[in-house]
């Protein structure tokens, strides 16, 4: 060690120097307090042996100065003293001394004390290093959390959650940011896809998983894929990229206000509750699937619950944090306390706020142990336009041109894949005029599902006229589609530019005309059923054709009713 001796007694100083040098220490000496402090400042020794009474500056004062100069490291000061009275010794400690050594010096005791100080010094150094590392880790962690938070917030913001007039929600994160992911987006037909996801754990793991999940959600929704398709893809992705123990309990809902259909997929979230104008629960959709990422593949994964949507429906989606909220005694809020709100005594419009208040009140001052989210879908507002209009995916408008495209699908194809999103995407990338996308999508989707449901599967729209029949319709559809062996659907699209005007740079195209011909190999429709008016067609089903009719310039059925021909005109908006 590098040891500084501050002592005005030359004999003492020399004896000590020799003792220390013999033990391998480097020794510096000073003969008064002022020199001692100056020498300390210059040489930065590891330990100081300090006499008490000295000229110019005494040992107490010098010790204080030295301690003040070395706040960032531990420099032991051992006082050399002749006094043995308690007062004198305690003065040494008060001045910042760490120990004292009484004269005359005993070599063994000197060695022992220096060794003891060295050990304390090593401990101090280790502690300081660890504190520094901890602080650095803390800083890193904080920065990474910030990045996660940034990502997460942007992902959530990218959707239409804030804009959709039918949605109200509340989330309260337990850590820096929420592990519950609440996103929503419109599909090309104007239907709304909503997802609540609850990742294992909080913070970064949730943010990391939210990336691929939201990409798929937004991307596939924009391309017109169904909830079942989304569930399958999201599960496969999360299973592949995330560690086994991280899963995401989630619920996907499609609100189709045109067809008045609610499609619900619940994997691992608590029961989705649906109340009507009585304020009581009329439907409940329990989790029938695994949370995303639990297993690689599951033949039932695409299975969804389909409900006929009534305008007075309010759908409640929530994460388990809501029912598992603890009070001060450690008891849980519970499913029962939640469902007590649906006894008909609360106005439906107040349910969300009342549940939220009850939950906050129950928890009181107890620390939140999980993220808590609750969302309400007010079906009466499902058809309302968001304030900024529906967000269109920014795709460059392609000038109207001449093109034709044909598709043909066999029973095998129809049984195994839903070709609709692919068709739509092909058409949309050829000619997707702004402001018309949604309509073209709707026309194609309606004509196609008519050809499949009625033409090939022989389903009767009339079945949908009662709520029971509505459910029956979709279960029949699933069965018949799985068993489909014969049949074919052909689609031909022909586009040409319309209404060109001459100006200085040549002809200017103002719009185009899409002629759609859809043929199925089925027995055909009764034209009287087809040409029913939109007004008389607002029952439980069968709005499809009337809707197409209202959107198109022309809609005709040919053959035995198995060929539909529609013309759609568009102009630049």
């Amino acid at each position: 060690m590098n040891i500084l001796i501050v002592d005005d007694d030359r004999i003492n100083s020399t004896i000590l120097s020799r003792l220390l040098a013999r033990d391998g220490h480097q020794v510096l000496t000073a003969s008064n307090g002022v020199d001692g402090v100056a020498c300390f400042k210059k040489e930065q020794p590891d330990l100081v042996l300090m006499d008490v009474r000295m000229p110019k500056m005494n040992g107490y004062k010098a010790a204080r100065r030295i301690k003040d100069m070395s706040v960032d490291r531990f420099v032991p000061i051992i006082f050399l003293t002749a006094v043995t009275d308690e007062e004198g010794l305690s003065a040494c400690i008060e001045a910042g001394g760490d120990d004292f050594l009484t004269k005359p010096f005993n070599r063994t005791i000197l060695q022992a004390k220096i060794n003891a100080m060295r050990r304390i010094q090593e401990l101090d150094t280790a502690l300081r290093r660890k504190t520094f590392e901890l602080e650095r880790h803390q800083e890193n962690l904080h920065q990474e959390m910030e990045v996660g938070n940034h990502l997460f917030t942007n992902i959530v913001r990218a959707g239409n959650l804030q804009d959709a007039p039918c949605l109200r929600y509340s989330t309260s994160p337990m850590s820096v940011f929420n592990g519950d992911l609440l996103i929503a987006s419109y599909n090309p037909a104007g239907g709304l896809h909503i997802m609540l996801g609850d990742f294992t754990g909080h913070g970064l793991s949730a943010a990391v998983g939210a990336l691929p999940l939201s990409e798929l959600f937004y991307g596939m929704t924009a391309q017109g894929f169904s909830i079942g398709d989304l569930a399958e893809e999201i599960n496969a992705k999360l299973y592949t990229v995330m560690p086994t123990w991280i899963t995401c309990a989630a619920c996907l809902i499609e609100v189709d206000y045109r067809q008045k259909v609610l499609t619900i997929w619940n994997g691992g979230l608590p029961d989705v509750l649906i109340a009507d104008s009585s304020g009581k629960i009329v439907h409940r959709v329990a989790s029938t699937h695994f949370a995303f990422g639990t297993i690689g593949s599951d033949p039932h994964l695409r299975k969804v619950e389909i409900l006929e949507m009534q305008d007075d429906f309010r759908v409640f989606l929530y994460s388990d944090g809501l029912i598992e909220a603890n009070n001060s005694e450690g008891a849980m809020f519970g499913q029962k306390r939640l469902e007590n709100h649906f006894d008909g005594s609360i106005k439906p419009a107040d349910l969300l706020d009342r549940i939220r208040e009850a939950n906050d009140q129950y928890r009181g001052e107890t620390k939140q142990s999980d993220d808590t989210s609750i969302l309400e879908i007010d079906c009466a507002k499902a058809g309302e336009e968001p304030p900024g209009g529906r967000q269109q995916t920014t795709r460059k408008d392609i000038p109207a041109s001449d093109w034709q495209v044909s598709f043909s699908f066999s029973a095998t194809t129809l049984r195994t894949v839903d070709p609709l999103p692919t068709i739509i995407n092909a058409v949309m990338s050829l000619q997707a005029p702004t402001g018309h996308r949604e309509r073209i999508y709707t026309i194609l989707a309606e004509l196609f599902s008519n050809a499949l449901d009625h033409g090939l599967l022989g389903l009767d729209t009339k079945t949908k006229k009662t709520p029971e029949g509505f459910v029956e319709y979709y279960s029949q559809r699933e069965k018949r589609l799985a068993a489909l062996e014969h049949g074919e659907i052909k689609l031909h699209l022909c586009h040409k530019p319309l209404g060109s005007e001459q100006n200085s740079s040549g002809p200017m195209v103002r719009g185009g005309e899409i002629a759609i011909r859809l043929e199925d190999s089925g027995p055909g429709f009764n034209p009287n059923d087809v040409h029913s008016s939109l007004e008389s067609n607002l029952g439980h089903g069968g709005r499809g054709i009337a809707l197409v009719q209202s959107l198109c310039t022309r809609l005709d059925y040919h053959g035995c009713g198995n060929v539909a021909e529609a013309i759609y005109n568009w102009t630049h908006q």
């Binding site: 990742f199 979230l269 329990a286």
Partner: protein, 105 residues
């Protein structure tokens, strides 16, 4: 505040009992518990019994740990029983559809 884990082994069976709160704080304890068998790794021919009789609370991280055990114990071939769960915890396991992955008794 977290739970307590105890492990007992016999020739072909490992029983892991969890008392109190089964949450993310138990992660390393739980892993150590099931990896103690065989020669340090997870023995795929073994039967694992997860006794939740004394478990008061279970969170999604705990579900994740059960999935991890299932995978390391042979995935679809794993032999895992989850026993004595009280009704609230059973409900959580069923919401996650764990009855399709584990024998819940």
């Amino acid at each position: 505040m977290s739970g307590e884990i105890s492990v007992s082994h016999n020739e072909n069976e490992t029983t892991i009992s969890i008392k109190g709160r089964f949450n993310f704080e138990m992660h390393s304890q739980f892993r150590t518990a099931y990896q103690q068998t065989g020669d340090g790794g997870t023995d795929k021919s073994r039967k694992y019994v997860i006794d939740l009789g004394g478990t008061e609370y279970i969170d999604s991280s705990a579900l994740g740990m059960l999935l991890l055990l299932r995978e390391e114990a042979g995935a679809n071939e794993a032999n895992i029983e989850v026993t004595n769960a009280r009704p609230e915890i059973r409900k959580i396991l069923e919401t996650a559809n764990f009855q399709r992955l584990f024998k819940i008794i």
